[in-house]
């Protein structure tokens, strides 16, 4: 062919940092926290871990498939309530309640998603928001099951006595053990989501994100794929919700209120939705800022808002996007110096 090829660029669409087993590294790095960190550190990290999983699950929709769900908290909430109700009201063990919370959230995602994927863009977003408000209304009003505005208080910790048999963990407090449990489950979930993103299924999702119309003409049933990922993302959000309910020792209607959907979306975008590790970094930054600023001033929403504004303008690809650009810049500089 003599059609002039555009200048081949060495820049690939995704950075070549995938061969590193990041999930394992982060897991090992965070494992000693209960021994070396303070109680407060462990507490804050537990929250960040749970939010990170929630944000990563949202990013399956937002960054990977290009679906702007504004009601993702509904499935987080369903997971929290299912786990809370099973453990508190029915006294079931965590090992049953936790999988059930994911399945319950996935089930709700299936029903709501069936309608949502029939719409696109802002209409999709509005419908997801509407469904999340329905979940909130049910949580708020169905006293007999959800406890209404009182919620479900005193959700018990999982039975973690078996952990004592693992060397070194025996002397940890209950909070420390719950941290280890959370870290393990979150790492497994994030690894699973990472695998899904890299799988052929994930490639189809990115194709749909890039060009919905064309995706149909390479033979994809776009709605079926969107519904599948909606259910998967909902299920993982449910896991995050289950952990959160136990972490805060209760499940309340506030957890399902719509600003929570905005918060997790901010985490995802702030961290960088084009990267698997963007949302966890976003969760880290937001949760940490939130805690720190609250310590110093009562006007924290104002300060937080300003910081977010600056970060979003300076780092359009999110924090991770900015780091990747910086790495590329440094590498080019080094290469130029070597040449």
């Amino acid at each position: 062919m003599s059609i002039p090829l555009s200048r081949p660029m060495t820049r690939t669409a995704l950075p070549m940092i995938r061969r590193v087993p990041w999930t394992l590294l982060v897991f090992l790095l965070l494992l000693p926290m209960p021994w070396v960190g303070s109680r407060y550190d462990t507490f804050l990290t537990t929250q960040i871990l749970i939010d990170a999983l929630f944000a990563v699950s949202l990013n399956l929709l937002l960054g990977t498939t290009g679906l702007v769900s504004f009601g993702h908290v509904a499935y987080f909430g369903v997971g929290a309530y299912v786990c809370g109700i099973l453990m508190k009201t029915y006294g079931l063990p965590f090992i049953i309640a936790f999988p059930a919370s994911g399945l319950g959230a996935a089930f709700f995602s299936l029903i709501f998603g069936f309608f949502c994927v029939r719409l696109t863009k802002i209409y999709f977003a509005m419908l997801t928001l509407a469904f999340s408000q329905i979940v909130w209304a049910i949580a708020f009003k169905w006293d007999a099951v959800t406890g209404g505005d009182q919620g479900i208080a005193d959700v018990p910790f999982p039975d973690m006595r078996w952990m004592a048999s693992i060397p070194g963990i025996g002397d940890l407090s209950e909070n420390g053990r719950f941290y280890i449990l959370t870290l393990t489950l979150v790492a497994l979930c994030v690894a699973a989501i990472g695998q899904i993103t890299r799988s052929p299924f994930g490639r189809m999702l990115t194709a749909i994100r890039d060009n919905r119309e064309r995706a149909a003409f390479i033979g994809l049933n776009v709605r079926a794929y969107e519904l599948t990922v909606f259910v998967v993302a909902g299920g993982f959000a449910g896991f995050a919700g289950a952990l959160y309910g136990i972490f805060t020792r209760g499940v309340f209607p506030d957890y399902v209120f719509w600003p929570q959907s905005a918060q997790v979306m901010i985490m995802t975008i702030l961290g960088g939705m084009n990267y698997l590790w963007g949302p966890p970094i976003g969760a880290l930054v937001l949760d940490w800022l939130n805690q720190e600023i609250t310590n110093y001033t009562q006007y924290w929403p104002f300060v937080l808002g300003s910081i977010l504004l600056i970060l979003l303008f300076l780092l359009p690809g999110g924090v991770v996007g900015g780091l990747v650009r910086l790495t590329g810049f440094v590498q080019r500089r080094m290469a130029r110096r070597d040449a």
Binding site: I3, S199, M204, G219, L220
Partner: protein
């Protein structure tokens, strides 16, 4: 191979395609021409299932595909390229073709393997066929316009179609690019035994490659036949060729 009968579509009272029938034989290269607004793109969108027709039937290789969703028609062997380039801009060129191949081979619901390594040889072979092997790792959206059109053709070919519908495959190309693209199309159609149906503005291209031409005018089919016959048709000359020839 492709039998279209009595296709009709109106938008809010305006009849865009009015009772158009067309038969394309296996391995035939057929062009649909007509002035702007004649209904060519709508006609294509009706055939490929992108929009639903009011009446009429589309039969692909003996199967009635009228009213089917695009992805099902695609699976039954109809590939398509678009007038405006329609690719996956943020994936690399290789990933674009790979995605289309994965979709075609029904691997889309595979959660467990690595997409990166699957069907790589096939994807590279296809890129070689369409002449994009050198830019395999470039982000598709940054390609030159002509290359993006080539990639689009690659996406259409990945589903191993029997019939290929091309909506203005050379739109916006320079004379040289047009020439190359036509040569490429002809070679691929030959190699793969494809049936081609395409729309085109460039009369030199149409008369150079088409074995059969259908002329649309104001939503109706004005004439149909071999190129010489269409060229000689006085009515066609009056409404269309006259202003271009």
């Amino acid at each position: 191979m492709l039998e279209i009968t009595g296709l009709r579509k109106s938008f809010a009272g305006f009849v865009a395609v009015n009772d158009v029938s067309l038969t394309v034989d296996t391995r035939q290269i057929c062009a649909v021409i007509g002035p702007n607004g004649a209904g060519k793109s709508t006609f294509f969108n009706l055939i490929t299932g992108h929009i639903r027709s009011d009446t009429g039937r589309v039969v692909l290789d003996g199967r009635d595909v009228t009213g089917m969703a695009p992805h099902r028609i695609c699976a039954l062997g109809m590939g398509r390229s678009f007038q405006l380039t329609n690719i996956f801009p943020r994936l690399t060129v290789l990933q674009n073709v790979q995605a289309a191949l994965l979709a075609h081979h029904g691997r889309g619901h595979d959660f467990w393997s690595r997409a990166e390594t699957l069907l790589r040889d096939e994807a590279e072979a296809l890129l070689a066929t369409i002449g994009l092997a050198a830019v395999a790792n470039t982000t598709a959206g940054t390609l030159a316009y002509g290359n993006q059109k080539q990639l689009e053709l690659g996406l259409a070919l990945a589903s191993d179609p029997k019939v290929l519908l091309l909506d203005e495959p050379t739109a916006g190309m320079s004379a040289g690019e047009t020439h190359e693209t036509i040569a490429l199309l002809r070679r691929i159609a030959e190699e793969r035994g494809l049936t081609l149906l395409f729309t085109e503005h460039d009369m030199a291209v149409v008369f150079g490659i088409a074995q059969k031409i259908a002329v649309l005018y104001q939503g109706r089919k004005l004439a149909e036949g071999p190129p010489e016959e269409v060229r000689a048709n006085p009515e066609v000359r009056r409404v269309y060729l006259g202003e271009h020839a």
